[in-house]
Subunit: 278 residues, 2 copies
Amino acid sequence: MTDGPAAKRQKASTPDEAPYKLIYWPGLPGRGEHVRLAFEEAGVPYVDGAKQEDAVPQVLAQISTDNLAEGIVPNLPPLAPPILEHGDLLISQLPNILLYLGPKLGLVPGDDANAVYRINALALTALDGFSNEVHDCHHPICTSLYYEDQKPESVRKSKLYVKERLPKFLSYFERVLHAQEERKAGSWLYGASLTYADLVLFQCLDGTAYQFPRAVQQLKDAGGHKRVFALVDAVRARPNIAAYLESDRRLPYGEGIYRYYKELDVVLEDSVEEEKKE
Amino acid sequence: MTDGPAAKRQKASTPDEAPYKLIYWPGLPGRGEHVRLAFEEAGVPYVDGAKQEDAVPQVLAQISTDNLAEGIVPNLPPLAPPILEHGDLLISQLPNILLYLGPKLGLVPGDDANAVYRINALALTALDGFSNEVHDCHHPICTSLYYEDQKPESVRKSKLYVKERLPKFLSYFERVLHAQEERKAGSWLYGASLTYADLVLFQCLDGTAYQFPRAVQQLKDAGGHKRVFALVDAVRARPNIAAYLESDRRLPYGEGIYRYYKELDVVLEDSVEEEKKE
């Protein structure tokens, strides 16, 4: 892209009031959804490139092997969406975008310079356990193969995910919330009010429950992670989030990070069967 | 951990001159190695908990399901190491630790408030492609299973990694370096001097070359990613890094992120064979 739109858009600085734009694939929530939820909760306007007619060309122009981000020094070309444009700044990598937006959208407490590092750690951990690993349950061998070409491996990984990993990550966030309760800090993951880490955990568990509805229900019924599931409900009930989830801006899950395949909708007992076979 | 050492260590603030301590598993470079390289390049003293006699108990105390980080408000309990202690601050998640250390160690240029977001995106991308995915090549099904219990899946994933993913990520960083060259910004990934993203890319590719020596050599010989391999050599030749790599502080690879298994030491042609079988 030697003289595309980005080249013409060079600006000297990024004032806070510059418009925000998300560049992302159309037609599914995906990893871009975390960015949308941050804007929606904050009530801050944003342009959703995924909803524009040229959504796909927008993404392709950025990730093209020809894109050298010319004319928008010192931005660098991104590998993959989601991508955030804010004035002359263009950045990629979901946890990085949230890190940038958090303080600007009031989703990081402003009274402690180190808060953002604690919140970033929570967001990275939620994405590791409830987004990256869940995605890999339907693509354990390679993202460039079809699901159908890695189905036996997906079934095996899903059984072990549900037995080992899902409870491990749920227990971790339950422990964080328990720590918060012990120090009478409230029922959010960090500090006295909602941060973007809470939004990330909500979206992660909403998606994980879509892919593994039986296992998530089983763990919910078992009652060992009450604080985590209460937090998910509390985020869902926030007025701006509730309105967004009801709107047609919220897209249904499909062929993205979170997918429903009947043969992957396993419960804890299925992994015990799996181990007996070995 | 209700009244362990952490509880006694409560402090009011984190002055820059407070001692830095890495808490990590002993006996292997692992993800902690990226933190060591940052300190070594900067020439800033740090305590390496992994080299202390009680390294394992230090880690276990942090990741224990009983650890509620009591008494060190507002830190939160971490899920896993590496963990950084700096005065009263305790944070986990490798890219988050580097984000915190980067500006303090002079590994992020100080003249642009947005530089850290561009560098963080580079570090996250390098870790995605050359650390997380490389690890998953020997643990594609579950980290809690032995390698021996997921060997066929590992062979299949490794072949596809070498064919699809390794060139994709190498080409991405080659593109970033090409962009830098076009704007006459130098031969580092960001700006005119070395940043922690360069150190991360070095360690990632050093480890990937340990796990996949034949494939990395093959791609190096093919000549399509000359800027990336030149950067790796340039980092390796930095005086402080060279001295560190020669020292006994640098541990050999073993049973960590990067592992050598003969059957996974594949070349590009092996994946073509794999596809023909299907």
